[in-house]
Symmetry: C2
Subunit: 361 residues, 2 copies
């Protein structure tokens, strides 16, 4: 325990220690079966129980209603950038996208290969420092869905209020998945990589409204078809056994800790502590993000100079506060404070920030 | 050790015990870093070293020449069924496929969504009990590639002699990957899921001839583009960290044991022991596969009746000989004897087979 460091990585990232310890204990010999879970057939009784529990927990913890089904798909959120338009767009239908930053731009780029796509709101003019207000989003005729990125991991902005629009939404929730309630009635599909709030890297969790599976496209490869993956309970091919197993453990932890309400409250408290420290620093620390769009998952901040930022990151690492570098494309600092990051880690960071400012401010 | 059972699963399957024990020991705190490897950024120094070593070992152990590059891609071999034609086929080009069984049929089904595909040899008339001889394969004009499935996991047949054709080949080697030499000069691309010979489920290893990356299609989503994945060293998005880490460990084990020559010799010895036991049983055990096409990886056999098969499987399990059921689509028995399955497991199985026959023959 004493050797465990504070890990602010943007993903892959901190997992609950109890989950890691459980997995370690049963790693070589799973429940006395004489082999590791990762050596077992994905059609056998042990993995069957693991997969069923993970699916049931994903539905339970997320609060997904019965008219949604959950899929476990490889290729991360990035493959969903292609699969969503591949499955949902048809001639005569269009898709609107909110251009809110790096990840939204990626979704737009890929979607343009598969259909008629337009930007329904563009944050570029504001340097991606904020999310749109509801009234700013322009939905055009023939729109099949509006794609939103609920949290931009690199920019550090979050769609704090979900928009109300008259078309179904598709949401990329990779970096704030299950840290807040999901507005199911406005959504046809929700997806996200697991490697932030839900487990180790190697999979996306996709919730799909069942009724849309009747009209998804069929003229695509079978791995890429939502209808096939749904009808096969995501076992159309060999699933990523270890990732599903760990996802199940993280979801169980999340449920036992109090579920989304507790995760949301913890995130708000951790974010408040960090943003307050920044705001009370008299401009020594600066958050470049519009206050109303500040992320509760990725807190970005700058120091007065790049030299001071380098010194800050070096001394922080020396104090066991790790992975605070901003994304390599934007620089600065970023503290990612996902579900499993303990409040004490944020307290240690804010103590360090005050002390660093006292020495260098 | 004494609790470890004989695991003949067709995949996921037995891994080297030393690999599992190493991974267990460093699971919670990786090399004193104060966190697990699966909690670390995929851009950090620890995972960077892990990924680079796995890539270097994949090239070394496979014997891939310098004009190939290796990719680690999610979605298993099944996603490659789509990605190969998506990337390689264009108007005016065709692809020939050997229809050798269940997996080949899957590859053909998906390829037909993306281009002009024909069957260059069809094993259906022979009930998929053999692979084609070289002269039986009909290559048509305008063929971009001939797709071969080097080993059919369910049918238990293996392309023991690679064909010589005047077009480049693409090979699905999922179930005999790195158990035999790869004929690089005849191939443009080789792929396979890792969950049989190479590690836990969750990834495909793809070797691509570099020169073909200049002409692959660009009008597809970025995750699905070989040229982008190659230019980003398979780190275009968050990679499946744990799977790559385990792959590296399995490849290191394979290299240290003697590499492909040793794996091939062990497979031949294990296969000979099993097929000899079958052949010497006076038709109590029967292998439905043509002798020249018998797989060195998946040994399928039948008993005189389905009742005896059920009894055989039950008693085998009681003797710690597990996962000997044939694929659910075909029934019967199947012993998968991949690289990491010890010779002693096959010896225990053949002892049991003789004893079962003595009691019930």
């Amino acid at each position: 325990m004493s050797s465990r460091k504070h890990n602010f990585s943007a993903g892959p990232c901190t997992l609950p220690l109890t989950v890691l310890e459980e997995a370690q204990a049963e790693f070589v010999d799973y429940q006395g079966a004489g082999m590791s879970l990762i050596e077992m057939s994905h059609r056998g009784k042990h993995f069957d129980a693991v997969a069923n529990e993970a699916m049931a927990l994903a539905m339970e913890v997320s609060g997904a209603p019965d008219d949604f089904t959950v899929l476990f798909l490889q290729g991360g959120a990035i493959l969903q950038f292609s699969m969503v338009p591949m499955n949902l767009l048809k001639p005569g239908l269009r898709a609107g996208y909110l251009n809110t930053g790096t990840w939204a731009k990626g979704a737009i780029t890929d979607a343009r290969e598969y259909g008629d796509v337009y930007v329904a709101w563009d944050g570029e003019a504001d340097n991606y420092a904020r999310m749109p207000a509801g009234g700013e989003i322009g939905i055009e005729d023939g729109t099949r869905y509006l794609h939103v990125t609920s949290n931009e991991t690199i920019g550090g902005i979050q769609l704090r209020e979900w928009p109300t629009v008259d078309v179904p939404m598709v949401a990329d929730m990779s970096s704030d998945y299950l840290s807040r309630p999901i507005p199911w009635d406005r959504l046809d599909l929700v997806y996200g990589g697991v490697q932030k709030n839900l487990g180790p890297a190697g999979m996306a969790v996709v919730f799909v409204r069942k009724s849309i599976l009747e009209e998804t496209n069929r003229d695509i490869g079978r791995y890429l078809r939502y209808d096939i993956q749904a009808s096969k309970q995501s076992m159309f091919n060999t699933p990523p056994v270890f990732t599903i197993y760990m996802l199940g453990k993280v979801l169980r932890w999340m449920r036992d800790e109090g579920g989304i309400p507790e995760m949301e409250a913890r995130a708000a408290a951790k974010a408040a502590l960090l943003y307050d420290t920044i705001d009370q620093s008299g401009d020594f620390y600066r958050c470049p993000v519009d206050v109303a769009s500040r992320s509760h998952m990725n807190v970005v901040f700058r120091l007065p100079s790049e030299d001071l930022e380098a010194q800050f990151l070096g001394e922080a690492a020396g104090a066991d506060l790790l992975n605070l570098e901003g994304h390599r494309n934007v620089g600065g600092c970023r503290a990612s404070i996902y579900n499993a990051l303990p409040h004490e880690s944020v307290a240690a960071l804010t103590d360090f920030m005050r002390s660093f400012q006292a020495d260098n401010g």
